[in-house]
Point group: none
Chain length 167, copies 2
DNA sequence: CACTAGGGCTAGGGTTGA
DNA sequence: TTCAACCCTAGCCCTAGT
């Protein structure tokens, strides 16, 4: 009955990664609204994007396998929420500088990406993922990096291949 | 980031219900300012109260089963669906939490929650909710009932409540 | 500006079918 | 049994209206 399970294609996966690289993790709806990715991901919902990213990400880091850690890390309830904007020293790895955000507005930078037949190379995946991770923790010089990535993508992207199975 | 999601505790929930019973639905700021509830709800905003009340209240309209609308819902996907063989039994199954008569203090109960996880009984919830509903439509003798409820609550929930995490 | 009502979104757990 | 895809929903955010 119901769902014949629509598997993710390489194009969709690449679009998702590019979207995350562009807007950051957790901006599923934003990614979906971007005309560039909307074409490829038209049959996916924001929740689908989130789920796929989770699946992709579970493999990357130390093989947690999602079903394992759940029992162990169940009682994780830090809640340092106390009061926002309170400076709480906290051993710093991050913070200290609240920048983040910014959709890195691509004003005029439209980057027309037609669907590419072959998925991006492993290297690109790595780069994109790294960027995503960086953005996740903090801002970094994302503008520079993002621009770089964007450019790389342009050079690597195939001329044009229309492979939109559905939609 | 800053907010790892703050789940509502039973105390907070009870306070919210009591607050609604006392002031009525929609008086979130008022409830929050009441010294009696302020202690418990100090880490909640008026919007939080509103949202929680909404969540608590997505029950009334016979939303019995969770498996029902799903067959007809989404499905804009290019995938064939066979609607026959459905109709489903759909037992009268109660899910409204009211008829659920769990054995309180049944022998052999696991009872793993050390902290006062469930201080209030189902009955109290029912009462509070009823009162809230009554007030929602009409005034009724709110003060009298409210006082009663308040008293009951105190006698029922005060064994030892030291469960104020961080405030 | 402060508050509320309501819609939207995300994170995380749960479910399902191959 | 495993697991990618999908479902459910509590909690939070954004917006409009008052």
């Amino acid at each position: 009955m119901g769902a014949p399970k629509q598997k993710w294609t390489s194009e969709e996966e690449a679009a998702l990664k590019a979207g995350v690289a562009k807007y950051g993790v957790g901006k599923w709806s934003t990614i979906l609204k971007d005309p560039e990715f909307a074409a490829v991901l038209c049959s996916r919902s924001n929740v689908d994007l989130k789920d796929k990213w989770r699946n992709l990400h579970v493999m990357a880091s130390g093989w947690g396998s999602r079903h394992r850690g759940k029992i162990v890390s169940k009682s994780v309830k830090p809640t340092p929420k106390q009061d926002d904007s309170t400076l709480v020293s906290y051993v710093g790895e991050n913070d200290t500088e609240i920048l983040d955000v910014k959709p890195l507005a691509s004003t005029g930078d439209v980057l027309k990406d037609v669907g590419s037949k072959k998925p991006l190379s492993r290297l690109d995946d790595l780069i994109l993922e790294s960027i995503a991770k960086l953005k996740e923790s903090r801002g970094s010089s994302r503008n520079a990096i993002s621009s770089y990535i964007e450019k790389e993508k342009q050079t690597l992207t195939m001329p044009f291949s229309k492979n939109s199975k559905r939609c």
